[in-house]
Symmetry: C2
Subunit: 317 residues, 2 copies
């Protein structure tokens, strides 16, 4: 029996099932949860089926069909204990957040995930690190569950795959990914609408902050190095928040002459966070030198210094 | 005999073949040309095979395998007349530019295209308006030609499809598109590298111009309308050229509150071009009112007025 069959058997023999995904949910967590909920709802064997979210539903994903079924972990209608608890897209139990106790209370547990770091915390662990998304793994459940691929399932799984591959541009984009997407489109997932919902609506303050930060950027060494400063004053002026900063280093890195892009961010405590991105140079070594870390092409560090002092230290090094 | 077989037969019976794509070549034109060149090069029946480019090869596409084979239409090594001339991705003969005469000189002609407006100007016209790209149509030639899908062919066709679907986000993204992409990845096309080459390298002046234009933008009607002005002075200051303006209206339209985004561009003649983008409102009607046109969600017009006068006219209307 392969892993999909094994997982399907555990689902088919449970009368009560609860589904979880990780905290700070993204397109894969939410899309997978709602798709799996809809898959299981087709089974006559199940008489209590719940899906739990910890935290707020991000506005971006409110379009997902079935989003109204998600319950908070303290919802009164939840059972104390389920026959089966399923964790999706969670590399470890901690990532269940508030819902960890509910997961632990279940009579059996199933863990479906694509993170290579997944530590296998359930009775049945189905981990496929090569899958682009947990949504890609769930697609393989349709046949052994003996259910129909509906349009709503297709929308959930397509959203999962689209967002976790960054729009088919990350290394996890494989032939299998496209084969599955072809079937999801055949089943009614609309790639234009889903793309628009996931990517085409940005807060005004974010767009303004990016423009200002890039306009203020300073170029060094024949435009091979670029940096910009995000002060608390700038954030206040534009009415932007810290999460609006995401992506500025990426935009700077995409400039054709640039080899290293840096963003200096003043924290509320007056210290300074530095993000590094590169097109080849090992910036993790630089970040490590300042007590930080990360990946070769994307890393960061935090200095207990004000922003001007930090720029001075890092740029002259 | 279906259209793919008919096209393949015309290729197999020609001893000398010349391939063309449209002027101002894009990823579909170039990727398709080079992929088809490589396909035909596998046939023993062909003893002279050329591919022609009119104009300059855009830097972005210099990574395409076989790019070194492209010849200018006045290249001395070209024949005066070929058994077969193939036009790719050209909606009408005019789009062949300088190469139109060479096309006319051929003993037979084949036109492969996905533009719905293609007027069918060749002996054999193979037009598939539902195909996402000409590259998608060419994939169907592999079997009837009896050739092997090599990595170089896969890279050309994947580039064609990726760019003409805007990274799988346009309406032309169909189940068939993904099925073909799965096979192209299986044959060695690297989605990460091709994405990076097509989209991740932007001129410094372009990034700076976008930042400045967005930073200067003016918001009206509860941020539902946004506009920005691109003067010649601004372009000179940043050392940017007119083609660096592409995409600014799109970025403004992506702001969540925005319903209509406008960009006013001062031309070298002192007149003003206006681009409109919307998230639902028919901006073609507005552009038409000012003598322009386009699509419902994307249109434009040219006013014989200076930029301030044009802003005044259009915004107060």
């Amino acid at each position: 029996m392969n892993r999909a069959q094994k997982a399907a058997e555990s689902i088919k023999k449970a009368k009560t099932i609860i589904i979880f995904h990780h905290v700070a949910p993204d397109g894969d967590g939410l899309g997978s949860s709602l798709a799996l909920r809809e898959m299981i709802s087709q089974l006559d064997s199940v008489n209590k089926l719940d899906a739990v979210i910890t935290g707020k539903i991000p506005d971006t994903y409110k379009f997902l069909p079935g989003i109204e079924y998600l319950k908070k972990s303290n919802d009164n209608s939840l059972h104390q204990s389920y026959d089966l608890a399923i964790a999706l897209d969670c590399a470890c139990k901690d990532r269940l957040g508030d819902a960890e106790e509910l997961f632990n209370n279940a009579r059996s547990t199933l863990n479906i995930d694509h993170h290579i770091s997944d530590d296998g915390f359930a009775d049945i662990d189905w981990i496929e690190p090569k899958a682009s998304a947990t949504g890609e793994i769930l697609f393989k459940l349709i046949e052994p569950l003996g259910i129909k691929l509906t349009q709503n399932i297709a929308i959930g799984l397509y959203t999962a795959i689209l967002t976790d591959t960054g729009g088919f541009k990350f290394e996890n984009t494989k032939p299998e990914t496209f084969k599955i997407c072809a079937e999801l489109l055949d089943a009614g997932a609309d790639p234009v609408n889903i793309y628009n919902r996931c990517y085409e609506s940005k807060p005004l303050a974010m767009v303004q902050l990016h423009a200002r930060a890039i306009d203020n950027a300073i170029y060094l060494e024949n435009n091979e190095i670029v940096y910009t400063k995000i002060t608390r004053k700038l954030l206040e002026e534009i009415n932007a928040s810290d999460d609006h900063i995401d992506g500025i280093t990426e935009t700077l890195r995409q400039i054709d002459s640039v080899k290293i892009a840096l963003v200096f961010k003043e924290t509320t405590r007056g210290t300074t966070k530095v993000s590094f991105r590169s097109n080849g140079i090992n910036v993790c070594e630089i970040a490590s030198f300042f007590g930080g870390g990360g990946h070769k092409l994307a890393s960061g560090c935090l200095l207990e210094k004000n922003i001007e002092g930090t720029v001075n230290d890092v740029i002259t090094t």
